[in-house]
Amino acid sequence: MILNLKAIPVKILLPVAHSGDIETTLICTPFSDKLINELSLLGTYLMSRGRTTSSIVATGYWLRKSHLLSIKSQYPTDELQAKGMVFHIAPGNVDTLFFYSMIISVLCGNQTLLRMSNDLNEDAQKLLKFINQFLSESSNIILLPSLMTVIQYKYNDQVTAEISACSTARVIWGSDQTIENISKFPLSTILQEESEVSSNNICFPDRYSVAIIQLDDETDIESASENLLRDIKPYFQQACSSPKVIYWLNTAQGLQDKFWKRVSQHLSAQEKLDVADLMSQLLFVQRLPLLLNTQKINKNKTLLKKYDVIQVVEVESLTLDSIKSHTGLWVLLSKQIKHLDEIKLFEHCQTVTMSGLDQSDCLSWKETTPQPMKRVVPAGQALAFSHVWDGVDLVKELTIKSF
């Protein structure tokens, strides 16, 4: 089946030399040598071209051959088939996350069509530009341009419906509202090897993340602050995986104070908030006492500590509203705990990062806690993308096991 993009109001961003037609049944063998080869060449290109942009270097690094092969080794790839055409609706603004969603899909051999948000930030634009350059400069790259297409369109139910009807799977990143809106458009069911392949939605709803930090003395501060910075600096702390709450495990106030000074010093040297963001940050800081003091939890004492661009709000307990209304921008909710069991996470918690904790305590908490987090990673790695994301195995979801 052919999906003619020229017949619907969409703008094609990648590849630049797109014919406008997508052959929806054109797929290739998952993790084929040729695919891995082309993707790793793209990775090398991105690492050298993107040098000055850390998020682009990270995408290139992720594509190194050894990494792709290690993912491959985790699956019985001989038994896997591509799913067909996969329609991705990328997250609004986490600059380069769209890339991973698309690459995993291509790696699985799928015909991949990605819809990006209409306001692309600088990093995303750069990344697209580099991929386009790579595709047009390299004559030996054949699979990638035939398997991946990036488009933009002003939100339009008819377009979404039309593309969905040609797709066998859909990856939706977004709020519950977005997911609900998009899920109502039916996907196609196709026959493959004479058996019906069930179509599926793979959804990544809004999530939040937390960090647990323990500092014993001043020597712990430097690395702990660098790790937190790595997790909150990108995307203005607005990625779902960036911690918004810090649980301080038995850490002296004086050390915390020095820690925050260090974090803010580093951050201020590298990043600035523009005036609109400063206003949003102020608004959220002023809203917090109201969001934290619902009728149920009265007299929740909160106190703001300002560390230049970083705003630390000390809280006694958290409310769902205070998390849901969080707009990133380097506001951190800080809670003191004496024991890991005091941590109460909300249902939509994604990542817990850990820093300075006793290894065995960590392990036993991880194994025994009923708390609903999706992953626990060392501090500094909150944003490292994995093909198993939010507990969803993307490779498994984007392939069919053939018998």
Binding site: P91, N121, Q238, L278, P289
Partner: protein, 353 residues
Amino acid sequence: MNWQNLLTLPVYDLARNEKQSIFSPALLTLAKHHYQHSDDYRAIIDSVYPDFLQRGEVPALAVRLFKHHLLKSITEQEIFRITTSSGTTSQQVSQIVLDKENAMRQQKVLATIMKQWLGSKRLPMLIIDHPNVIKDKFSYSARGVGIQGMSLFGFDHTYALNEDMSINLDAVSQFFDKHKRKKILIFGFTFIIWQYFIQQLNELNIHFDVDEAVLLHSGGWKKLQDKAVSNKEFKSELNHVLSNTKIHNFYGMVEQTGTVYVECEAGYLHCPIWSDISIRKKSDLTEEKSGIEGIIQVNSLLPSSYPGHSLLTEDLGVLLGEDNCTCGRKGKYFQVNGRLAKAEVRGCSDTQS
């Protein structure tokens, strides 16, 4: 606070020291009043500005707070009216809780300020809008409130536009004929006057000979930011279609209804005695020097039923001076340059943009 005394103060006559000796202590008293009577305000102060009031400092609340929370310093039973702003950039609207006293004081102060510009007699009034804008209860929004508020200063209220925003030439011509050689009042919103009055008359090549008129306009350009013209061009084009018309822009907001900032003959907005502005730096929101563009903060003594006495707006402006405007009025004078570009939305959860 002794409002009886405050209301007798001259609107534009007190110089800095005199004004501050009255205004600053009154604002602090008001802040303490809200601290006592509004649980939410107290929670914000205790959490974000714990020692400010003791130090004699009054922090400004982000004006968008009123879009998220119903802040009030009165009991449910005392609520007389809740006014809302029109949501131009989002569906969320500001909700301002008024008791009878606060609502009446807003009217009184607005009237006192307007008298300075219109004289004390009611004037025949032409409204550059369509009559249904105030009839629809659901859109009882800033536009409707503004028109109703201003209507008090006029009589023979005539609407210049039809519901489809085309000009009602019959009504307008009749109005000007009927009130020939009388001073008249014209009121409307800036972008509506520009798009539906000036431009339509220009296209039709019609102009009216007016003997004496005062045109007040407000509201800026809203969604028509790309069509915005300078104040100078606005005035010259307007004078092209209406002769002998004095034009005054004014700046105000539903969150501080009453204390409006009217543009003088020299083209600058003036603070009345009951309110004051300061400009905040774009880099860190601390106080900005005069002459440099920043975020406008508005302080007003009027809000007693809701803690809206000190607000950080989302408007950009420049403080131009104090007590030394060529028009002779005392107090700070400034200009408004427009709205802050909407904060960029980032994060995982906005895929529909």
